[in-house]
């Protein structure tokens, strides 16, 4: 399934807040297929770039253009935050929330919620308050709440930060399945291992600018900039 949203074009996009440039100027074109991973040191602008693409961060200059109207494009996207935001409701009510917002009946939404709760291993915790789940469970729930909307594009901001091995594996499995089902994924991470396991193409951001963008093997194995080479071997840049 090829999403009608792509290609996504970013032209001279920059974000400046209180006189400080957080991002840009960035020029990018992302095709309909792929699993894009954004890497870079802290403060490189990864989260800002993701929020700009999703449309929840205002651009100071430049543009982000989808192949369809921006408002329509927003309805086909979902976003998973680094620190999962749990509604003060049960697991079940967190899952059905985006569906009922979209106008689905509660009964129909509950069927989907039940299915997703079992997929993420929370089938027996439907009535538990979501804020009381563990970090890993909350992140899985946040991911399920995003995927239940069947988005064409899924943005994830370091979804496995602070998670242990098994929780990371569960999240990665969900992401692989979503990607295989046709969801275009754009995520940030600090884990080069995760880049090797998941990415089809990699964007390296440094000081708010795209230093490199290409296929995973090319970017990881033959870095073109000294900053990326240093970053890949774990140097502080």
């Amino acid at each position: 399934m090829v999403s009608p949203l792509f290609p996504l074009s970013v032209e001279n996009a920059s974000v400046t807040r209180r006189g400080k440039r957080l991002l840009g100027p960035v020029n990018l074109t992302l095709p309909a297929d792929g699993f894009t991973v954004v890497i870079g040191p802290n403060g490189a602008g990864k989260t800002t770039l993701l929020k700009v693409l999703h449309g929840i961060e205002r651009l100071s200059e430049g543009s982000v253009s989808w192949s369809i109207a921006t408002k329509e494009a927003r309805n086909k996207q979902a976003y998973v935050f680094q620190r999962p935001i749990m509604l003060r409701r049960s697991v079940q009510d967190n899952l059905i929330y985006p569906l009922t917002l979209a106008g689905l009946s509660r009964r129909a939404a509950l069927i989907q919620a039940d299915d997703w709760a079992h997929r993420i291993g929370l089938g027996d915790a439907m009535d538990r308050p979501a804020p009381q789940l563990s970090g890993g469970e909350q992140q899985k729930l946040a991911l399920a709440r995003a995927l239940i909307q069947s988005p064409d594009v899924l943005f994830l901001d370091e979804p496995c930060a602070n998670l242990d091995g098994p929780a990371t594996r569960d999240i990665e499995t969900l992401l692989r399945n979503a990607h295989a089902a046709g969801t275009r994924i754009i995520m940030t991470t600090h884990s080069i291992g995760q880049v090797r396991r998941l990415a089809s193409d990699v964007i390296f951001l440094h000081q708010g600018q795209v230093h490199e963008h290409g296929l995973r093997a090319a970017v990881l194995d033959t870095p073109q900039t000294s900053e990326l080479a240093a970053f890949l071997i774990g140097d502080i840049i």
Binding site: A78, I85, L87, R89, P98, P129
Partner: protein
């Protein structure tokens, strides 16, 4: 000290015998305060939530004014409502002065800023927590406000109960606009004021203890709800 014991005895006697006058006054107190609470909540909850979510030019000034109005002197409110509803006032034609409706209007004016201000505080914190998610989900302003009110309902219930507590204990405004007319506008607080002025301290204290019991019930309800939230049950 004798008056207090006499008051306790009078309260016990009035409650034990379900004194018709006491029941009538108590029910009228509840009616006026609950009606005022319902109307105030209908205004204050969306208003407080909207002030937390919406950005507009004079937002800070509106919030500051709202906070200042929490301390509105009830006697002044009563006087203004009296002037508005009196025969020569702009709403005199409605004939509402010295009716329970006039008392409800006065109480609404007194408790709405209190409920709206507490609502604004509670919703502001929740909005900070939910902001990115609700923006990401492309929610409309109405959907955001409804979500915040629903998820913050425990805190908002506390706000409502605080408003109820202020309303049911209020005397200055409702004695002016209600007139403390027997079987028409007499409520617990105005009855206490009347009995005190007559020198019947035992009955005044008896009515006072009934009022305190109602306030305690409200506070117990608040406590029970807070405990529910702490234990994480939804």
């Amino acid at each position: 000290m004798t008056e207090i014991w006499d008051g306790l005895r009078a309260a016990f006697w009035l409650i034990a015998h379900l004194d018709a006058n006491l029941v009538e006054i108590t029910l009228r107190s509840l009616y006026v305060s609950l009606m005022a609470l319902a109307i105030a909540c209908a205004i204050a909850l969306p208003l407080g939530a909207a002030l937390a979510v919406q950005r507009f030019k004079y937002r800070r000034a509106v919030i500051a004014t709202l906070n200042a109005f929490m301390g509105l002197p009830p006697v002044v409110v009563g006087l203004i409502v009296y002037l508005l509803l009196s025969r020569s006032g702009p709403f005199g034609v409605l004939g509402l002065l010295f009716t329970p409706t006039a008392m409800i209007i006065a109480q609404v004016i007194i408790i709405t800023p209190l409920i709206a201000s507490i609502t604004h505080q509670a919703i502001r914190e929740l909005w900070a927590e939910y902001h990115d998610l609700l923006i990401s989900l492309n929610t409309s302003k109405g959907q955001r406000i409804m979500t915040l009110i629903w998820d913050g309902r425990r805190a908002l219930l506390t706000a409502a109960l605080a408003g109820f507590g202020r309303g049911i204990g209020e005397v200055g405004a409702i004695i002016i606009v209600g007139g403390n007319i027997d079987h028409v506008t007499r409520v617990l607080t105005t009855a206490i004021a009347l009995e005190t002025s007559k020198g019947d301290f035992a009955l005044a204290l008896g009515l006072g203890f009934v009022l305190i019991a109602l306030s305690l019930l409200v506070n117990y309800a608040t406590h029970a709800l807070s405990s529910t939230e702490r234990s994480g049950r939804w």
